[in-house]
């Protein structure tokens, strides 16, 4: 039987308590809103992509449960300094991890720290919390005016 610690691993608790890349960027050229109305989780992400197509900086603001805050914090770490062209693939990998069959072991080499969020698979009602930030960043990347939601 799984334990609550599968979901609330120390890394998640830590990122919830002191989220990385939190606050508004001084310089950004993409942004988007995310909102899960049933939960009340709200996110705003800022993205600065440079002329070489590199995500030079990324940050988020908002409020939500530990899963959504930690996921956003970990996401900013995972994409900062990487080429924007790789975002779509990262998005798919993360999405796959949190919805994959329980028997599938997350590939930590590919996922890095993001693997700590694989525990949400055991908690179907919480998957939407983990993916809200990714959908919001996707909106920012595509300059969508629509508020991202995952409910």
């Amino acid at each position: 039987m799984f334990d609550l610690r599968d979901l609330y691993q120390q890394v998640i608790v830590d990122h919830n308590k002191s989220p990385r890349n939190f606050g508004k960027l001084e310089k950004f050229n993409h942004e988007a809103d995310g909102y899960n109305p049933l939960c009340g989780d709200r996110l705003h992400v800022y993205l600065n992509v440079n002329d070489e197509g590199l995500i030079e900086d990324v940050s988020f603001e908002g409020e939500g449960c530990a899963i959504s805050v930690a996921s956003a914090s970990l996401m900013t770490e995972a994409v900062k300094g990487t080429p924007l062209s790789e975002f779509s693939a990262k998005f798919d990998i993360f999405q796959h991890m949190v919805t994959a069959d329980l028997s599938e072991v997350p590939d930590e080499e590919v996922l890095g720290k993001l693997a700590v969020l694989s525990g949400v698979r055991e908690f179907p009602s919480r998957i939407k919390c983990a993916v809200l930030c990714w959908h919001t960043l996707k909106s920012a990347v595509t300059d969508s005016d629509e508020v991202a939601k995952t409910e």
């Binding site: 610690r5 979901l7 609330y8 308590k17 049933l38 009340g40 709200r42 530990a66």
Partner: protein, 406 residues
């Protein structure tokens, strides 16, 4: 007056199960209550023995089904002390009952420049229908404010009431805060300016006695599923004098007396407002649920629920980092709170793994969340079958949540 708690618990088969290897502690009664065996049996019996459409057939089953359906209406009429069964309209629930009144009575009586007055602690279902009505006819929606305890500011009610006020919509007991509003007084003041009053009794009707004649309520609405009955059925209890003047809400079979392609003559009350085949088993289950409440009696129910809320409130007062949302002097059965450093949704998940079912969220009362400046709360809501040991389990689980986030 007291009740045998073990006997009451034994009436609810769902309670004796384990969740993740721990005894189920069901504290989400404000969302929906569990159902006693007698209600489950009444519904099963109907489908096993009596199932037929009502008000139609001349055969034995249809007569039995009709007798059971109309028998439930009589039980409900007596329970709310309606003047007659003509004042009892079955609906899908509280939400549909409010929509019925907003469309039928509101559409007919509320005009541009008029006002509809609701309160800051209404459930969305007693906000949105009035908002839509006001938008449609050009009326204005006004809101009675609340104080930090989650009580209505009654002086503000007096200031907001005027001859422009056509209707006051007020919740009898708040689902998000537990506050019990002084509806008799509100109705008296509203009537003094000529306004009608709709009381949302979804949360109240299982916890305190309601006498629509004593209250002089124009419209009283509630749902069966929050009073030990099935989902998908509720009731509008309204003054016959008002119902007579109101146009039908939905049209179709059962609500007519005579139909030609030129003209339709509507049926008498209450059928004028019950188009189509109704939720027959639901109504029968609702009637049985009310009998269940009557068998225990409100004296015993209120005594027990007060005891339990006092026990839980004392524990909450002593719990470090816990802030209660809703501390009205008159309240019942609801402990809404936030915990420092733990988001309500994380609490919901952690408590679930301890077998404790609570609600986390905005409780369909977003204006209440805005007022208290919280995105959501955790809410434990109690019923007649809950025990002190279950309250202890709740607080033990809260402790565990604090440890995880420590």
């Amino acid at each position: 007056m007291s009740m045998d708690l073990n006997a009451v618990r034994a009436d609810f088969p769902i309670l004796s199960q384990e969740i993740y290897g721990k005894p189920l502690v069901y504290l989400d009664n404000a969302a929906t209550t569990q159902k006693p065996q007698s209600v489950i049996d009444a519904i099963t019996h109907y489908y096993e023995r009596d199932n037929a459409n009502v008000h139609r057939g001349v055969h034995a089953l249809s007569e039995r089904a009709t007798a059971a359906y109309e028998g439930a209406r009589k039980i409900i009429a007596d329970f709310f002390n309606a003047r007659s069964v003509r004042e009892v309209i079955f609906t899908r629930g509280t939400t549909e009952a409010i929509n019925l009144v907003a469309h039928s009575w509101g559409g007919y009586n509320v005009r541009a420049g008029d006002e509809v007055l609701i309160t800051h602690m209404e459930h969305h279902s007693n906000i949105v229908p009035w908002q839509m009505l006001c938008e449609h006819v050009g009326a204005t929606l006004k809101v009675v404010p609340i104080n930090e305890k989650g009580e209505l500011i009654m002086e503000a009610l007096d200031e907001l009431l005027s001859e422009r006020t056509k209707l006051v919509g007020v919740v009898h007991m708040s689902n998000a805060l537990g506050t019990i509003n002084p509806v008799a007084e509100i109705i008296e003041r509203a009537h003094a300016v000529g306004a009608k009053v709709l009381v949302d009794g979804a949360q109240a009707a299982a916890h305190l006695p309601v006498d629509v004649q004593f209250l002089d309520a124009d419209f009283y609405v509630t749902s069966a599923h929050k009073m030990y009955g099935p989902t998908g059925v509720g009731v509008l209890v309204a003054k016959e004098s008002l119902l007579q003047t109101m146009p039908p809400y939905q049209s179709g079979g059962d609500m007519i007396r005579m139909v030609t392609f030129e003209k339709t003559e509507y049926n008498d009350l209450p059928y004028k407002f019950e188009a189509g085949t109704p939720n027959i088993s639901g109504a029968i289950g609702f009637g049985r649920a009310i009998e269940y409440i009557q068998e225990i009696g409100f004296d015993a129910i209120q005594k027990r629920e007060k005891e339990l809320l006092a026990y839980a409130t004392a524990k909450a007062d002593a719990f470090e980092g816990l802030r209660q949302i809703g501390t009205a002097k008159e309240k019942a059965c609801v402990l809404s709170f936030v915990l420092d450093g733990v988001h309500p949704h994380d609490l919901g998940t952690i408590l679930d793994r301890e077998g404790v079912a609570i609600r986390a969220g905005h409780h369909c009362a977003m204006p209440v969340m805005d007022f208290f400046k919280v995105p959501a709360t955790a809410r434990a809501s109690f019923s007649i079958y809950n025990t002190e040991a279950e309250v202890d389990a709740l607080f033990a689980a809260l402790k565990k949540a604090q440890e995880i986030f420590g």
